[in-house]
C-alpha cells in the first residue's frame, strides 16, 4: 500500500485545519459503547470546539441501531456505522481496513482510540498503514502551536499528546506536525465522561461493509470467546479504600474489605499489592491501572510512587494510613495517620459504627 498520500504537503495542511474533523473509534461490547469511548468523545468534543471542526465517531459491529442515541448526547456530529453480521466481534484486519479506507476518504486531522486491548491492537496497525504517528497511553490532550526547532517552521493547532515516559518518571509532550491523522490512545478513566447536551442530534452515515472489507480480512477466526462483565467498579465509586504492599497479605486485605463494606466503598490496590497477589488486577489504580477521582481515597500501606499517584491524585480528599511518617504519599494527603493498618483499620470501623448511629 502506498502510504505517501498521507504525508500531506504544506498547503494541504493549511487547508486541513479549517475543514478536517476529529474521529473517535467506538468500542462496542454487546451493543453498548464502552465507557472509554464515551470519555474520548467527551474530550473530542472539547478539542473540536478549540479547532472549530466537527466531531465524528466510528462504530463497527452488528446490530448497531442504538449507537447513535448512545453517543449523540456526548456531542458527536457524525456517526459512521458499519453494521454486518461478520463484524459481530472485534477483529484486527476488518477493523483496520475500515479505518484505513474511511480515513483515506475523510482525512480526519485527529483520531482517538481507547488504550485497551482493542485500541492497542488496532491503532498501531492503522497508523502503520497510513504512515501516521501514534502516541500510546496519553494522559492529557490539548491543542497548541508548535515550532520545529531545526527548520523554524511554525504550526498552528497541533494536538499535544501528553504522556508519562520512562516508567512514569517524566512527562513528555509529543506532537505529530506533518502526518495525518494525529493518532492517540488513552486509557479508561483518564478522561471524564460528561454529557454535552442531552438533545444534541447528529447524523448517522451508514457504510456498506462490502466496500470496506474483503474476504482476506477474515484470515483469523475466533474459535472460543469467554468474556466476563467486570465485577469491580472502582472507577465510579465515590469512596475507595486502597491497599498497598504494606498491607502484607491477602488475609490482611480482608480488613480493607470490611472497612469498605461498612462505609460503602470499593476496594482498590497498588500494583505492588496486585503483583504480590493480594488483590485482583482489575483493582489496580495508577498509570497502568485505572484512574479514579473519588470523594474520599483511603490509602493503606501505600508508599505513593509517582505511577500510583498518577491514578488517584485528583481525589477530593486523601487519607493515608502508613507506619512510615515520611511515606511520599503523605505529602499529598489531607490526613496522615501514622500507624499500622492492623491497628488503625479496626478502629476506623469501630468508630464509624459508633458515630453513625
Amino acid at each position: 500500500m502506498n502510504g505517501n498520500i498521507h504525508k500531506f504537503s504544506n498547503s494541504q495542511i493549511f487547508k486541513l485545519k479549517e475543514m478536517n474533523n476529529i474521529v473517535v473509534y467506538c468500542e462496542i461490547e454487546e451493543g453498548k459503547v464502552a465507557d472509554v469511548s464515551l470519555e474520548l468523545i467527551t474530550k473530542g468534543r472539547k478539542l473540536a470546539q478549540d479547532l472549530k471542526c466537527k466531531l465524528e465517531a466510528l462504530a463497527i459491529g452488528y446490530k448497531l441501531d442504538s449507537i447513535g442515541s448512545q453517543v449523540f448526547p456526548y456531542g458527536v456530529d457524525t456517526l459512521y456505522v458499519v453494521d454486518d453480521k461478520r463484524l459481530e466481534h472485534y477483529q484486527t484486519l476488518p477493523h483496520t481496513s475500515i479505518c484505513v479506507k474511511l480515513f483515506e476518504e475523510q482525512k480526519p486531522q485527529i483520531c482517538l482510540m481507547g488504550a485497551t486491548t482493542t485500541g492497542r491492537d488496532l491503532g498501531p496497525r492503522v497508523s502503520s498503514a497510513l504512515k501516521s504517528g501514534l502516541t500510546a497511553d496519553c494522559t492529557n490532550l490539548e491543542i497548541g502551536p508548535h515550532t520545529e526547532t531545526k527548520t523554524g517552521k511554525e504550526y498552528k493547532d497541533l494536538l499535544y499528546q501528553i504522556r508519562p515516559a520512562f516508567g512514569g518518571n517524566i512527562i513528555a509532550t509529543i506532537v505529530n506536525p506533518d502526518c495525518r491523522p494525529q493518532m492517540a490512545t488513552v486509557r479508561e478513566g483518564v478522561m471524564k465522561k460528561e454529557i454535552f447536551n442531552a438533545n444534541h442530534k447528529g447524523e448517522v452515515v451508514k457504510l456498506d461493509a462490502d466496500k470496506y472489507v474483503s474476504a482476506s480480512d477474515f484470515a483469523i477466526s475466533i474459535v472460543e470467546r469467554h468474556m466476563e462483565k467486570s465485577k469491580v467498579n472502582i472507577k465510579n465509586s465515590s469512596i475507595i479504600v486502597a491497599g498497598g504492599y504494606g498491607v502484607g497479605s491477602k488475609e490482611n486485605f480482608a480488613l480493607l474489605y470490611e472497612l469498605a463494606a461498612v462505609i460503602g466503598a470499593e476496594v482498590g490496590a497498588s500494583r505492588a499489592a496486585v503483583d504480590a497477589g493480594y488483590a485482583e488486577h482489575e483493582r489496580q489504580i495508577g498509570q497502568t491501572g485505572v484512574t479514579v477521582r473519588p470523594k474520599l481515597y483511603i490509602a493503606c500501606g501505600i508508599s505513593g510512587q509517582i505511577q500510583h499517584i498518577a491514578g488517584m491524585q485528583e481525589s477530593s480528599m486523601i487519607i493515608s494510613v502508613n507506619n512510615d511518617p515520611n511515606a511520599p504519599i503523605n505529602k499529598i494527603a489531607d490526613y496522615v495517620i501514622t500507624g499500622n493498618i492492623e491497628d488503625v483499620l479496626p478502629k476506623m470501623i469501630k468508630y464509624y459504627k459508633q458515630n453513625s448511629k
Binding site: 483496520t96 497511553d137 518518571n169 484470515a219 494527603a333 490526613y335 501514622t338 500507624g339
Partner: protein
C-alpha cells in the same frame, strides 16, 4: 516439520527499578545509571519460540534486535537459552526512530531474512510501554497479527491456534502462517540459560565487537562460524532511507517535564483511639462518608 521463527527482542533500560540517582537534577533521565536488560516480555516471546522448537525438531529460531552495538548482549542471552541465530540491526541511520520508523527498519530486515513462518515479539517494551512495534511490523509485512498471546495452543497443517488474554477474558483464535504474534507477560516464563549453550556461545560476537579483540582471540573464534552474530547496517537492507530514524518518525518530542505534585498541608494524626474517633466523626458530619 520444523518452523522458521523470528523473535524480536529489545534491550531496554530497567525502568522498573528507577532509583533516585537515575533522575538527573534537571529532571532528565540518566540512562547510564539504569542497567540495560532483555525486555521482560521479549523473554516470554522467546519461550514460546523455544517451546515450538521442543515440539517440532528442526525448528530454527532467529533473534533480531535493533539497537546500539551493545544490544548484541540480548542476542547472546537468547543463544544461551536456545535460539539458533542472532541478527543485530545497528546504524546511526536508525537512531531517533519512533515506533513507526522502528517497525519499518525491522520489517525491512525481516524481508531480507525472507523465509519465515512466524514472527514473535513481546507485547510491549518497558522503556516506552507502547505495544506498537509488533502490529506495525505485521502491517508492513502484510500479514495478520495475533496480539496479547498467552499460549500457543497448537500448530497443525500450517494453522496456528493461540489463546489470547484480554482485559475482560480470553479468546482462542486461529489463523494460517505466516503471521505475527505478540506475547503477554502472563505467558510462561522463559527458561534459564543452558550450561552447554553458555559454553558454546560464550564467545559469540558481532563484527563491531570483534574490532576490539586481539589477533589470537580472533584466530580462536574464526573457525567457528556459529560464533559470528550477524550485524546489519542500513546498507545491508533494502529500504527507503527517508522512512528510517528521525526523518521517518512522524512523532516528535516537543517537551519533557519533571513531575511535580502539589504538596498539601496535611493534618497529622496518631493511631490512638481519640484521633481516629475524631476523624470518623468529622467525616460523617461533613458527609464525606455515610
Amino acid at each position: 516439520m520444523g518452523l522458521k521463527i523470528i523473535v524480536l527482542a529489545k534491550q531496554v533500560p530497567d525502568t522498573r527499578n528507577v532509583g533516585k540517582d537515575a533522575m538527573k537534577a534537571d529532571g532528565t533521565v540518566n540512562r547510564a545509571a539504569l542497567p540495560a536488560i532483555f525486555n521482560p516480555e521479549d523473554l516470554n516471546a522467546l519461550e514460546q519460540a523455544l517451546r515450538l522448537k521442543d515440539q517440532f525438531p528442526g525448528t530454527h529460531i532467529t533473534l533480531l534486535t535493533m539497537g546500539p552495538v551493545r544490544a548484541a548482549e540480548v542476542l547472546r542471552e537468547g543463544l544461551f537459552r536456545g535460539a539458533d541465530d542472532g541478527i543485530l540491526l545497528t546504524d546511526r541511520a536508525f537512531a531517533g526512530a519512533d515506533t513507526l520508523a522502528t517497525s519499518y527498519a525491522i520489517a525491512c530486515a525481516i524481508r531480507k531474512v525472507k523465509d519465515y513462518d512466524l514472527i514473535i515479539c513481546g507485547r510491549q517494551a518497558i522503556d516506552g510501554d507502547t505495544a506498537q512495534v509488533g502490529p506495525q511490523v505485521a502491517e508492513k509485512l502484510g500479514i495478520p497479527q495475533i496480539t496479547y498471546a498467552e499460549e500457543v495452543v497448537s500448530v497443525k497443517n500450517n494453522v496456528i491456534k493461540i489463546k489470547r488474554r484480554l482485559e475482560r477474558g480470553i479468546e482462542v483464535v486461529e489463523g494460517k502462517l505466516p503471521l505475527v504474534i505478540t506475547v503477554n507477560g502472563s505467558a510462561a516464563e522463559c527458561r534459564p540459560r543452558n550450561a552447554k549453550l553458555l559454553m558454546k556461545y560464550k564467545h559469540s560476537s558481532t563484527m563491531s565487537e570483534r574490532a576490539e579483540k586481539s589477533e589470537d582471540y580472533l584466530a580462536m573464534i574464526n573457525d567457528k562460524p556459529y560464533l559470528n552474530i550477524k550485524e546489519w547496517s542500513v546498507n545491508d537492507i533494502e529500504c527507503d532511507r527517508e522512512q528510517l530514524g528521525l526523518s521517518g518518525s512522524p512523532t516528535k518530542v516537543k517537551k519533557i517535564e519533571n513531575i511535580v505534585f502539589q504538596a498539601k498541608e496535611s493534618k497529622r494524626l496518631t493511631d490512638g483511639d481519640n484521633d481516629i474517633n475524631q476523624l470518623m466523626k468529622e467525616l460523617i458530619e461533613n458527609h464525606t462518608i455515610g
